[in-house]
Symmetry: C2
């Protein structure tokens, strides 16, 4: 079956249509591990916070009405009948004209309804306290449940958890919580020429690059990358590996070898493994055309081009939005950087082209994008690039000093 090569916009639409609303599975993890994850439930306070009336200053707990009219010239004189210890309950009873010392965070003693700051008082003889400023009812206090009432939602479902949220969750005594689990992304590398980094090369072989750069990209996007190793150019072996990977992953990436027949393998295998099968066969971008996107019973399987730069471009443009969607990370498609292009560049119209660039801060205080030199397929191209410039398909290139939009890598 020959499918029409599609634009990036069409491809992203197909991906949204088929995979945007996959169910999000939740898992319970410890509070300390929840940074950067997305909350999978409304989290409610089990009780009032604070669960007692407390002072927010160091001072004297009083009946507010006993201080009305107090001034420097005419202080209210109250009898000190005790001290509240921080972190303890208190049974000191504050009656008319009595007071008790209470530290910041300490419990208000029964009968008191305000706290006078220590700076506005004077201890005359460790028995009588002079109060130089009046307090209104509940001044310098937080009442039980005033911060968070029992049952109140402290963190809404779908919140991306940042450090202050961790503090808020600790404040209600939470130890673990339900978050969406990270999607498992299997990466299958294919090609007779590939060897795992760290092992010896024999003549004609090269080390596998794409498994590792894809795994790193998946990790950065919040997924869990699982390297399924290298398979030679062996259709049944690849098919078995894909079937296996589908069992225990949410997304399967098949990184193509350089062999000519490879893309037919992938399409055929996807179609054989389940419905609806291949959705996209070829994307109208340069580099990255030989990309295949399929759905096996609703699970995405993507055949990635084997050339390392193509692999990087296709991942960033098409796969990254899907992984970030699945891992509930913020969509990064819209975060483009404006930069001045340092060199003119000629491209042939008809395909959207992605040009590898090095972005740097110029002396003019603007961001500049310098195209990375080098033949197609060279590794040095990707290691010195930190971004890519999109050249729309009806444009014939870039002018020197033109303002361009850069996708950061």
């Amino acid at each position: 079956m020959l499918l029409k090569v599609k634009d990036v916009a069409e491809v992203l639409e197909i991906i949204e249509q088929h995979f945007w609303n996959l169910p999000g599975y939740a898992e319970r993890i410890s509070l300390m591990d929840s940074l950067g994850r997305r909350c999978a439930e409304d989290i409610r306070a089990p009780g009032n916070i604070p669960d007692f009336d407390k002072s927010v200053v160091d001072g004297y707990a009083v009946k507010a009405r006993d201080t009305f009219g107090a001034s420097d010239a005419m202080p209210a004189l109250l009898e000190k009948i005790g001290e509240v210890a921080i972190g303890s309950s208190t049974d000191i009873q504050i009656d008319h004209d009595k007071c008790a010392y209470v530290p910041t965070g300490g419990m208000l003693p029964p009968g008191s309804d305000a706290v006078i700051m220590i700076e506005d008082t004077e201890d005359l003889d460790n028995k009588i306290i002079a109060i130089y400023k009046p307090a209104g009812p509940w001044d310098n206090t937080i009442k039980s449940g005033e911060d968070i009432a029992a049952g109140q939602v402290v963190l809404e479902k779908e919140t991306l958890i940042r450090p202050p949220h961790i503090g808020a969750l600790a404040s209600i005594g939470l130890n673990d919580l339900k978050v969406y689990r990270r999607p498992r992304v299997s990466i299958i590398s294919t090609g007779d020429e590939l060897v795992k980094p760290g092992s010896q090369l024999s003549p004609g072989k090269i080390w596998d690059i794409n498994s590792y750069s894809l795994a790193a990209s998946v990790t950065r996007d919040g997924g869990i990358a699982e390297l399924k190793g290298i398979t030679g150019d062996d259709r049944p072996a690849i098919k078995a590996k894909v079937a296996d990977a589908l069992d225990d992953s949410d997304l399967v990436l098949i990184s193509g070898g350089s062999s000519a027949g490879f893309s037919d393998y992938t399409a055929g295998i996807i179609n054989e493994l389940g419905k609806p099968g291949v959705l996209v066969h070829g994307i109208s971008i340069k580099p990255g055309k030989p990309t295949i996107i399929g759905s096996v019973e609703g699970k995405p399987v993507i055949g990635m081009p084997g050339q390392p730069v193509s692999s990087l471009v296709v991942y960033r443009v098409v796969v990254s939005p899907l992984v970030r969607r699945m891992s509930r990370q913020p969509d990064s498609r819209q975060t483009l950087l404006k930069a001045v292009c340092d060199e003119s560049y000629y491209s042939s119209p008809g395909r959207e082209e992605y040009l590898m660039v090095t972005v740097y801060q110029g002396c003019d205080n603007r961001s500049h994008a310098r195209p990375v030199p080098g033949k197609s397929g060279m590794i040095t191209t990707i290691s010195s690039a930190n971004g890519m410039v999109v050249i729309p398909k009806n444009k014939e290139g870039l002018y020197k000093n033109e303002e361009v939009q850069v996708i950061m890598l």
Copy 2:
């Protein structure tokens, strides 16, 4: 010893002066774990990449001069004497008027010096190949070492490792590498009122918040947070814990309880444990004044305010730059967001003030900052804030619709 309260700028200068050039310890980790870490050595290619002359297209390997003058009307006719398999060595010898099929990435057979793309050829009878386009020497090839020469630096020391770098390191067969290790940051929580989240509260107690929000902040900044638990208001116990933490960490944070005497404890303990001792005693910010910064024989020890909002502010303004420096992460001090302030706000001049705000995208497509309501010390303040606005110390507040600079949390 009473030290003068210092401005944020002075404090940051003191931190730079004392801790900016602490040695960076390296550790060897696997390639797969190195994402986001900073390389601690120049990494050189152990051999040429590729380590053989290769084709970058599917086509026929030829002697370039045999194709000179070839055209559609007058093809060069070459004898096909074999096929190169991908990932294998080849001993096919290309002599005058011979050619061999070679796939993309395949090894050039000895004697050949160019490849004609398959699209520009015709297989006449599986023996004679018609070549319709000429090739110059080394057209459609990458020569051994042309991408990366043996000994060439592939990744410079101090590079922050992103996914493309992982690919480049895989391409030279690297399996592990030396990166700077993450700083270990111990967090000691103090206060008689504190209880670990997940356990039961008794009257007058609250759950420990700061340990958890500080740990999350440290993690986000690239450090390894180690919670050393809660210690009551017990000077010898706190001192023993700090001494212990200094043994196995690069930075010690002591989160203060609310008790009045606490800040004196911390300063005294720091001075007793080593030279030069306390460097900063009080910062001229609101909230966050009761902060202590010390150096125990060159190791930073910081006494953090116990109030959760103060803790967050002091961490973000003073501690985060240090943790990011130690973990070799990019400095985040300069990344401010411009936003429109939604409400006017009055502050008293004399101290730099940090106002918790919620930043959101307005209908006018601009970022807006809405001050978070709530009394000082309320948890709800921090859980609904995602940024803070700096009000300089000689300013009396913010005007509604004024453009402000927001530090994102």
